[in-house]
Structures are given as C-alpha cells and as structure tokens.
Symmetry: C2
Subunit: 510 residues, 2 copies
C-alpha cells in the first residue's frame, strides 16, 4: 500500500473535483467562465480607478462548443505576470491582502482556462496592453496539470487600438441557456449591484445583443487594504507571524503587524502574557504564544477599520431596484460593518414589493457577495437560510414551514467582506458563520418591519376603500327611504345623506 | 501591482478557507476531526481485511479545548509514510485510484492536524505499529503551512500491546455538543450504515460511555480497483494519458488504460478517428485526440464494472433500520449501479414509517456517502434536493411547496461511488450531477410507492374499523325499532340484526 501513496497536484485535484470550481455541468461551466473573467476585469478596472467598460461575447462553434471572450478597458497585465495569473492555480495578489475584491483565491480564471483545455484541448488566449508606449501582446498558454505550471505556446505582438486593456478568450464545451441561471440573468444582476459598470453583450444567436448602460458615472469608494485584526488571530498563525516579522521587539511587532494596536495596547497585551515588551518576537515559544492569545482575547480592542469595505449603500440599492423592477414599494437597509474571525464584513438588503410582481410564487431572492451575483447553490447559502428562518408571517407574508415565504416580493441580499467565506471554491454560496447570519437576520427584520408597515397600510387602505364604496352605495337609498317615510323635502333628504356620509367617514378614521 | 502577485500554498489556502474543510465552527471542527480519523481507520481496516474495532475518546482539557483520540486495530502505517499522510495536504493513495473508499482527497486528517496546530499550537501525535516484529512508534509532527510540508518534532519507540494498529491524537479548540449535529448522532449513524464495525466511545463527561456493537461479523464485499471508463474521458485528459502511457500502439493503449475496451472495440475507436491502430500514442495531436473523443462517444461501450462499489444492500439496510428504529413499516431499495462522468455509482434508500415516530414534524433525512454520515449542509445536498422535489403527496404524506414532506418518517439515503462529487472538501453534501439526481428520484419513487401502499392499506383498515364500530353501535337499535314498529318476535329481530350486520360487512369489502 505504501508504494501507492503520492502527492496530488492542485490542478489534478481540481480537474477531478471540477464541480468545486463551478464546472459540474455544461451550462454552469459556461456561466462560471464568464463570471471569472468579468470578476477579474471589474477588479482590475476599479483598482486602477477606471470606470469599467466590458464586452462579453459568446460565439457558438459547434453543438455544445463555444468561444467565450471578455474584453475590458482595464490597466492591462505586464508580460511577466500573464502566464502565472492565467496558467497556474493558487496564484495572485488578492489572497494575501485584506480588502474587498471580487476575486480572492487566485484560482478562478486559470481554472476556467484549465476546463477549456480539458474539454477542447485548446489553449487560453490572452491579449493585453498596459500603455500607449508598449505594443499589445497575444499569448496562448496551457496548464501542465501534473505540475500546476503554465506553458506558453505562443507569444506575439499584435495591434490594439485602445491604449490599455485585456481580452481573454476561452474555448470550451458548454451549454448556453436562458433563464434563472443564464448569462443574461447574471449580467442583469451584475448591473443591479454595480451601477457604475457598462457591459455590452453579444450572445451566440445572430442579433442577440444586450447593453447594460451605467446608471452612475462615479466609481464606488475605493476599498483600502488593512492589517489583520488581533481578534482574528489564533495560536498557530500568531507563531508564524512572530517568526516572520521584521519587528525586533514584541511591542513593535503588535503595532506594525496588526490594525488597531497602539503603543499602550501593545504593552498591555505583552505584559498580560507575562512577557517583556523588549523581547524578540522570534524567541516566543508555543506556550508564550498561547498566553499572548489569551491576553489578546481579554483586551478591549476597537473593531477593525471598515474602509476596506465598499458596500453598495442604501441609496444606490434603492435607486437600482427602482430603476430595474416595477413594484409598489421599495426598501433598503445597509447595516453597519461587523466582524467575523477578525474580518470586517457588512450586510445589505434591498426589497421590492407589489406592483407587477406575482403574488402566488415563492419570493425571489437575489444573492450577492462583494457585488457578484450568486446564481447557484441557494439551498446551501447562509443568505438563503437567514431568509428561510425569518418569520415572514409577522411581516404580512404567507410562509410554509421550512420554505421561503410567498408573495409579490424580490429580495436582494448582499454581503461585502475582505474575505467572504464561500462554501466552495466556486464561490456560489456563503458559509454560515454565526456573525454573518446574525447580521443578515437583523437586516431582514429591519426591512421586514418596513414591509409590514406598508402591507398593513395597504390593507387598511383597502378596507377603507371597501367601506367608502359601501357608504356611497347605500346612503342615497337610505335617504330616499327616509324621505318617503317621514315626508321630507328634497333639501332635508340631501342634508341627511350628507350627515350620514360624514358620520360614517369620520367613524372610518377612528 | 505586479510585485504583489505571488504563489499561495495549499495549506495557506485551507488555513484561510478552513470552512471548506469543515472547520467553520468549534462544534463542527470537533466533529470533523473525529470523522476524518474514523474514516481513515475504517478504510485502513477494510483494505487489510480486518473487522474494524475502534476507540474514540474525547478528553476535556479546558473550556473549549479538547484532546481527540481515535485508535484502531488496522494494519498500521510504515514509518516513511507517517509524516506525509498526517502532515501534508493533498497526499495519499486514494486520490489516483478508482474504487469506493471513505477518504478520497488526501486532505482530511492532515487538515484536522493543521486545525489543531493553528488553534492550540500543539503537534498532531501518531502512534502506529505494523506487526509483532516491529516496535510501535510515536511521532509528533507539525505542518509548515507556508510550504505545505511535514516537520517531525519527535519520533520514539513506545510500547503497545496489540500487534498492529494506529492511534491518532489531536488537541484542538472546539465545542462538544449533543444533538442532531453531535458526535453521538454521527457514531449512531455510522453504526447504522456499517453494521460490521465496533466502536467504543468515551465522551468528555465522566461515565459518558457508549458502545456500538457490531451487528454483523462479516466484512462488506471488498471494493476492487478499476481502470477509467472511456465515456468519462475528455480531450485534455486523453492527451495527458496518451503522453504518459507505456503502450506503444494506439490499439493497445486503449486496451490497457481503460476498462471495458477489448481488441475489436479499440480498433473501432482508433479507426473511427481515422488513425492507425499501430501508430504511437505519444504522437497523437490535439486535433486527432478530438477525433478520438468523438469516436469514443459514438462507440457502444459496456458500462464500467461495478465490483469497485460496496453498497450496503437492501437486506442489511432493512435489518439496520429494524434494529435501530421502532416503526410500523420499513422499506429499502438498492438501485443497480449507474454512471456519471465515467464513474460508477449506486444509490440506496431506506425508510422507516409510523410507530414511535412523530407525525407533525418534517421527515428526518439521514444522508450517507460511501457509508459515511453527512451531518451538515443538508440544504446544498443533491440527496436532500431529490427528496424535496419528489411529490410526496402522491405517496400519502403532507408537503408544503419548497419544503420537506411531514409525517412519521425517517429516510436514509446512501450514494456509493468510486468518486463521490462532494460540494466542498469538507465532504458534507453531494453535488447535483443529473445522473445522481435521476437515480435518487427513481429510488425515492420506488420506496414511495411501497410507502403509499402501506399508507393506503392503513387508511383502509382505519376506515373499515370505523365502519365496523358504526355497525356495531347502531344495528341493535334499528333491530329494536323494527321490532317495535312491525311487532316482530325476539327471534325475527335477531335475524334482522344478523342480516343487516352481514350485508354491511359485505358491502365494506367491496
């Protein structure tokens, strides 16, 4: 048995486990490929302060075979980085830093390339230009999956009109479908959560063109990078940080490596662990590190800075919903940032009710993480479960046990974080960390109460309307009857009708 | 930006993404650690043909700190393999072979050790002995997470009475909880799906001892290793196999590297791609590989061998359910093996209904993959979704839209495969491959029909009982009334009562 034990390369692992990356069906594979390319483009544009302008093209080559192309007006990618970014899993700049971005794992786009290669044998093609003085390059590359290394097949200079940008093309086996899990739905929801983005889409059918124009020409506030927060650190990680730090003293170690730690707090943490502020970080033993962790946990440390987040915001959420969905009532809640495992995060809920929405169906839930629509794995997602476990009957909706509520409602749930805890590498569902579920529920209750007020108001108004109709219908007859019985004049009858109408109208207001 | 791009080691990746491995909460972390150790022990015992005898011990060290120990009577592990098996992610013997086993990724136990190290700074401790002539060894090791490499801290010879076996101990931060997601539930369900296993459990509280005795002293049929099936191969993989194969001719390549391909079929595949059976596998181009794939897809190839699977079986399923659950009615269905992406798999459903089970609650679903209970992520699991989308009203149960049915029912769903497609590395939910969902639904319909017959029979019997009571209650009165009105004798009255009773009893049977 021993002889058969051997190493498994990351790319081998994900080739066999491709569903972990979102490539379990031909429909999903096509969508995931577009999603990964669009995520990268949007991140690159925003980091460079450029208003994103994207072109997404799907070309049908044969039955179940497509060529996906995503082009952006981003900053472009320097030659040295292209092979690894597109041809190596677990490589990138977003994993090791703490700030909100769509990509975070260093897997997505190379996985899409690997899937294309696996199903068609074709390389991934990248064209990129970084500035006017440099020519654009075109690279064709494949992944050596046994070693998880990129292999450049061709590299040549090409013409490109724009001064900078990147274009990625992947040929793959896939299925193009419309509907709830389709590319169009994905792009529409992307526009909903990213009003500053402009996307032109060309589908595989002739004339299948869509344009999502930007509703706002200002970029969202830039998310800044932060240091880790002490409350998110455990013994093992602390030991590693101590070993790797350039700080010479324990007190300066805490000040330079963490956010929210000043000189006083650093000294308190170190002394709380019965260590010397002047001693060397490298010499801290495992036992001493445990004492440091205990000391950190007892210390009051301000919450981490939240300028690492870039939420959509209540106003933009409302505006987006009003722009895209015809309804009677809208509400939006953007919670204050909170923290899970030391990571700042923020929950936002938007809601559209009534109007053209159908009331017999279960409510539609649009889920987003760091502004990216999540179209699959709803059942396994903490956002979904929070909606499920909220008591919607209290807010005027019907709800069966263990099911989503029903009614004319669209819910939009967004979680923004420096590190969204996805349930798999395909980033389709958010893991159920208690802190995230708690914030979700509070946000849902807040919009729920607003909804309940609207539903009650609507019902009261409907009742009132019914009464008014009743009054208007019967009072004249009563007047005529009284006129007959009591022999009243026309004027007296009119007076009585008016009095009755007035009385009933007043009683209605009570 | 370019300067910040860098490689991410697998262990760094999973440290940050620990929820992917099942370590998102202290409760789950404790359970996952036990699960990984038990999986490994059971696999090792069964592979060596040993009836598994396990001891699982949880020792409370402080609040939220536990020492988990799992000891087995398995074959033991040779010294050279210990560090990598326990101290390196993505390493093992089960990933590269095709046969049913609990472990398949080469991640589990080293991830548990890494989590322990991360939260407590303590090494993972392994004791193992392979035979009488060799002393037992005790190793303490940690993982260098930046490089994903094991580091042995200590290695010494120790005394051990048994001739062979392995004992793993991990100290970790965790929470010990009872209930639906607790260790006890997990062990109970493990016993349900593995009647040949004996487990002694010692919980953290004094006297908290449980013993699950084996109900069967025969091992399940051994699962054999198979070659990949041609229908599961795509262009990319085929190209790699062609390059790596030792076969000198294309025709022998197909015969030696795949299951179910004989000389005639091999020749047909090669010629269908307009290639020569004698040409060298290494010289096949990407274009030619595409033609080979097209030719494979057109060829009729028998389904892969299914001796790589080791299902529980209908009889054992029924026996297990009857042994452990007090109910009125039991049913079990073991479907024939089917194939997804070239991988054989098999679906089994067991069902217990009525009796002591409560009828107001939603039904309880016990999910299993390769005989391992799945306690988390029910919502994201294809087994759950198949149950949800089955029309249970047709089988006599209540069911709200979008919810599980309710009624006095326990459902046991098992999928066995050479490669179970889990939705994440934590192996808690099965991905929704169409073929698996289809088999699940067919199995559910089969047990559903059996259930419906039972429910209808029960209802008919209840109706009949009600009628009998009715008859018994009113007929004598009718007799007396008729006697009064018609002036009948006692005997005549008795005759009429008898005739009426008889007539009604007969009409009931129609």
């Amino acid at each position: 048995m021993a002889a058969r034990q051997r190493e498994i390369s990351v790319s081998e692992f994900f080739t066999k486990n491709r569903h972990l990356l979102g490539f379990d069906s031909p429909t999903k594979a096509l969508l995931t490929t577009i999603k990964e390319a669009v995520d990268n483009s949007l991140d690159a544009c925003e980091e460079a302060g450029i208003l994103p302008d994207l072109e997404v093209t799907i070309q049908a080559l044969a039955e179940n075979r497509y060529r996906i192309e995503v082009a952006d007006n981003g900053p472009g990618i320097v030659k040295a980085q292209v092979p690894k970014i597109f041809g190596k899993l677990l490589y990138g700049s977003k994993f090791h830093r703490l700030r909100q971005s769509r990509g975070q794992q260093g897997i997505g786009i190379s996985a899409a390339g690997m899937y294309g290669q696996l199903t068609t044998g074709k390389p991934i093609v990248i064209e990129s230009r970084t500035n006017r003085r440099q020519a654009a390059h075109r690279y064709e590359l494949v992944i050596d999956t046994l070693r998880n290394q990129p292999v450049i097949k061709r590299d040549l200079e090409v013409d490109w009109e724009a001064p900078h940008g990147t274009r990625v093309a992947i040929e793959l086996e896939g299925t193009y479908k419309k509907g709830r899990h389709g590319v169009e739905t994905y792009l529409r929801q992307t526009a909903l959560a990213n009003p500053h983005v402009e996307i032109r889409f060309q589908g595989p059918a002739e004339g299948e063109v869509l344009a999502f124009q930007r509703a706002s020409s200002t970029l969202p506030p830039e998310a800044l990078e932060i240091q880790p927060h002490p409350h998110g650190v455990e013994v093992g990680l602390l030991l590693r940080m101590l070993k790797e730090s350039k700080a010479r003293r324990l007190s300066s170690f805490f000040q330079t490596e963490f956010s929210r730690v000043g000189p006083t707090l650093a000294q308190r943490i170190v002394e709380g662990a019965e260590l010397q502020p002047k001693s060397s970080p490298k010499r801290v033993t495992a036992e001493a590190a445990e004492r440091l962790i205990a000391s950190i946990r007892q210390a009051r440390i301000p919450a981490p800075p939240t300028n690492c987040l870039s939420p959509i915001g209540e106003e933009r959420l409302l505006a987006s919903l009003q722009e895209q969905i015809a309804a009677d009532f809208y509400a939006a809640v953007s919670r204050s940032p909170a923290v899970y495992r030391g990571n700042p995060f923020q929950v936002e809920i938007g809601l559209a009710y009534g109007g053209d929405l159908t009331s017999d169906d279960l409510v539609s839930l649009y889920r987003f993480a760091n502004r990216v629509p999540l179209l699959y794995q709803q059942g396994g997602c903490a956002l979904f479960k929070s909606v499920l476990s909220t008591n919607w009957k209290a807010y005027g909706l019907q709800q069966s046990r263990g099911a989503l509520p029903s009614g004319p409602l669209i819910l939009m749930a967004h979680v923004a974080s420096v590190w969204v805890p996805f349930t798999s590498e395909s980033k389709e569902a958010v893991a159920g960390y208690d802190e995230i579920v708690r914030e979700m529920k509070l946000a849902l209750q807040e919009v729920g109460r607003q909804l309940a007020r609207h539903v009650r108001r609507t019902e009261r108004r409907r009742d009132a309307d019914r009464k008014r109709a009743y009054i208007e219908k019967y009072i004249p007859h009563i007047g005529i009857a009284l006129q007959d019985i009591l022999g009243l004049s026309e004027k007296q009858e009119a007076e009585i009708v008016e009095t009755l109408t007035d009385t009933l109208a007043r009683s209605r207001k009570m």
